[in-house]
């Protein structure tokens, strides 16, 4: 953590809202990407981001400066997102709203549609993962957290975290294998 970020975090923890605003501006995009990958819905992802920042604000005085602020925010975002998912049906939220998918149904597939196919299969595979498997996979694959960090974020043992990643990868591969080489 840079000295500048450390000072901003300390100020925010002391109640400085403008300092917290700096953190919001710095981390919003990354939190949105994480939230979207977790829930697959733009509107819900935006709600998750806002709610996560509210929780972060409330918990700022409990943040330990020797920890990673990014990991701490990711933990809050993932936990908030999983709360949202538990409240709502995952399948409804993962339905694609892209009209392009509907217009291409049943059509002949020119080569560039292979990308749409892969994306759709990936989304479907992510939908079929459990919340924990999805969270573990996206934190490892897309966010680059180590297994140890993911275990702390998800409050799992390292072994349980590894198993979640392994299961997620197996399911993802099963969905994408037919499309390999397209």
């Amino acid at each position: 953590m840079s000295e500048e970020e450390q000072k901003t975090i300390q100020a925010a923890a002391a109640g400085d809202r403008m300092a917290f605003r700096e953190l919001v501006l710095e981390h919003s995009q990354a939190m949105f990407r994480l939230a979207w990958r977790l829930c697959g819905d733009e509107g819900m992802a935006e709600d998750i981001v806002q709610e996560a920042f509210i929780k972060a604000w409330r918990g700022m005085d409990g943040f330990r400066m020797d920890a990673s602020f990014r990991s701490w925010l990711h933990r809050i975002t993932v936990n908030t997102g999983m709360d949202y998912l538990r409240k709502q049906s995952r399948r409804d939220q993962f339905e694609s709203e892209d009209p392009g998918f509907e217009t291409l149904e049943g059509a002949q597939w020119p080569s560039h549609d292979a990308q749409i196919d892969i994306r759709r299969e990936t989304e479907a595979a992510m939908r079929d993962l459990s919340d924990t498997e999805r969270a573990a996979l996206l934190l490892r694959h897309f966010e680059g957290h180590s297994i140890k960090e993911i275990a702390q974020i998800l409050e799992l043992t390292s072994d349980a975290c590894k198993q979640a990643v392994f299961r997620a990868v197996r399911k993802m591969r099963a969905a994408l294998q037919p499309l390999a080489g397209v």
Partner: protein, 252 residues
């Protein structure tokens, strides 16, 4: 030497992410055409997962998030300050509510145990330094015990709240008392480094703020919604946390 036969796809996943337990694994894979082929197939399929990309947010997204949450942060702070002032006025009245009285007494005990020095009249001989009497009290257990009592009271009033049919039937100061106590216990938990407990108390605070506000103004529609939120979201969590606090071997 690494046993090639025992190398599983899970091992290759760890290798892909640079988290392999066996430092010889990469070399073993490189030496075997079969393992290399398996690893390349895995890598290709995982790279395909990179197609799972979120929609772009423009450069002003962070600012729009701030604009959305800033009023809530301000309302919470103002709400807390107002309710804290109301709460202290409430507990300073000659007629205390049960929760307010219990909270003040228990928080005073907690402050004592968490580092205050107390003297008993006549206990310290003249000219000598007063002896701390907090040494015999375990602050962590006292925090758990007092928060446990707070949660028991909260359980009782929330159960009454979800079962009442009239918005104005509950005493108007009950939510304020609960909110004040909750905030003070949260700060104590934070001071003690108990992040899980502090986080839980922080999570339930917004609903307590809303309930304290609604207890003042009253609204049929909001009342029902809040009853649903308490019934579906809050009560279970309060009971689970209270159960955990009562199990000495599983402190939060």
């Amino acid at each position: 030497m690494t046993d090639l036969i025992s190398i599983s796809d899970d091992d290759l996943v760890l290798l892909y992410y640079g988290e392999q337990d066996d430092p010889q694994l990469a070399a073993a894979v490189a030496r075997s055409d079969l393992l290399t082929a398996r690893f390349e197939a895995l890598s290709a399929e995982l790279r395909m997962a990179d197609a799972y990309q979120p929609p772009e947010r423009d450069k002003g997204y962070g600012e729009s998030v701030w604009r959305s949450i800033a009023p809530r942060l301000e309302r919470e702070e103002q709400g807390f300050v107002q309710k804290l002032a109301q709460g202290w006025r409430a507990v300073s009245r000659p007629r205390f509510s049960f929760a307010g009285m219990a909270s003040v007494v228990l928080v005073a005990l907690l402050a004592f145990a968490l580092g205050q020095v107390a003297t008993r009249p006549g206990a310290t001989p003249p000219g000598q330094t007063p002896v701390a009497t907090s040494a015999s009290i375990d602050p962590e257990r006292l925090l758990a015990a007092t928060v446990g009592r707070h949660l028991e009271q909260l359980d009782q009033v929330l159960t009454e709240f979800v079962n009442t049919s009239e918005p104005g039937a509950m005493p108007s100061d009950w939510a304020t008392d609960m909110l004040v106590a909750n905030r003070l216990y949260r700060q104590s938990a934070t001071a003690r480094g108990d992040r899980k407990l502090a986080g839980f108390l922080a999570d339930i605070e917004p609903l307590l703020i809303e309930m304290a506000y609604e207890a003042q103004v009253g609204s049929g529609t909001t009342f029902e919604r809040m009853q649903d939120e308490v019934r579906n979201k809050l009560l279970f969590r309060v009971r689970v946390m209270n159960t955990r606090l009562n199990q000495p071997q599983i402190r939060t």
